[in-house]
């Protein structure tokens, strides 16, 4: 048995979505520890030669180990695109808010990084649905802004980062 990651949205009305505001998820644990492979693959994509990501001696001396790029934070808790398990791996809370929109795009993000995340750390995240806006019309279509707040913890319970994200869940081309 196996399952792909599920990007299917929950569908419902704005009232359905409002009933979900305030929901906090159970801690969701990363499937794997932060690794040098993922750190350096991301740094290569961004073309960031910072030795904190590439040079184990420098990183150990300055930070205590190879550092996960702060920008990769959300990705460290995204499940792999396929798992050898029967249970589908769900995407983040924001995509599971019941709304009419058929797609989404990110609108804003504010993150605070309290302490460096290092190779070997196993993170977990708690997500909260903070707000859902009334219906808005933008150049992309009609939809709702969905605001979530994620708290990221190391396995010893230390809060390492918070991430407040707003996405626009909309149906393309729908203008009123």
């Amino acid at each position: 048995m196996s399952a792909d990651i599920v990007y299917e949205f929950a569908f419902g009305s704005y009232q359905d979505a409002l009933r979900m505001v305030g929901v906090r998820t159970e801690p969701r644990v990363a499937g794997t520890a932060v690794s040098a492979d993922r750190i350096q693959h991301f740094a290569a994509m961004v073309r960031d030669g910072n030795p904190s990501y590439w040079d184990p001696d420098f990183a150990a001396r300055v930070w205590g180990g190879l550092v996960a790029p702060p920008a990769l934070l959300m990705g460290l808790l995204i499940p792999p695109p396929w798992m050898p398990t029967a249970q589908p791996r769900l995407a983040g809370l924001s995509l599971r808010v019941p709304l009419p929109g058929t797609t989404f795009i990110n609108a804003s993000n504010e993150a605070e990084f309290l302490t460096p995340v290092l190779a070997g750390d196993v993170l977990h995240v708690v997500e909260e649905l903070v707000a859902v806006s009334p219906e808005k019309t933008t150049k992309l279509g009609v939809g709702h802004f969905v605001e979530t707040c994620e708290s990221f913890y190391r396995d010893d319970g230390t809060l390492v980062a918070t991430n407040r994200n707003t996405l626009f869940r909309f149906t393309p081309g729908q203008q009123r």
């Binding site: 990007y7 993000n109 993150a111 460096p116």
Partner: protein, 146 residues
């Protein structure tokens, strides 16, 4: 560079990054964000986009790279705020326009943190503002003395 030597305000040089199709595909691969708008041009077009586009993490990584390339590898990003006004598509150039807007020393019972705030406007090659951002870097303790 030390914290004392940081001028406020100050414009820093633009940084240009070519975003090829390969890098947008790498974007999905490295972040495990396989939302189809990041790898499937037909899906992206069906949603009103000209082609696939990078995700928030890619733009954030570009902003962080600009900040720590300037502040040094023993600095670190402690806060970043960004708004996505437009997408960066495969084939675009991503242009970062950074400037120093503030610096401050925050003292707690444990230590003093030496912080510098940058504004980074991320535009495309047409000069359209896609992502205005603010990022705060903490300079290394050794960088706070002359």
């Amino acid at each position: 560079m030390t914290w004392d030597e940081v001028s406020v305000p100050a414009d820093l040089p633009d940084v240009v990054d070519e975003v090829s199709y390969q890098r947008v595909v790498m974007n999905a691969a490295t972040t495990w964000d396989y939302f189809p708008g990041h790898y499937d041009p037909a899906y992206a077009r069906s949603q009103g986009h000209p082609t696939i586009f990078v995700n928030t993490m890619h733009i954030a990584g570009f902003i962080d790279r600009i900040a720590t390339d300037w502040a040094g590898p023993d600095s670190r990003v402690v806060r970043r705020k960004m708004r996505i006004l437009g997408s960066i598509y495969a084939g675009d150039s991503m242009v970062g326009r950074p400037r120093v807007i503030d610096k401050r020393a925050e003292t707690t019972s444990a230590a003093t943190r030496y912080l510098v705030d940058l504004e980074v406007d991320v535009c495309n090659q047409r000069g359209e503002l896609c992502c205005p951002a603010e990022v705060t870097v903490e300079l290394a303790p050794g960088a706070c003395r002359r």
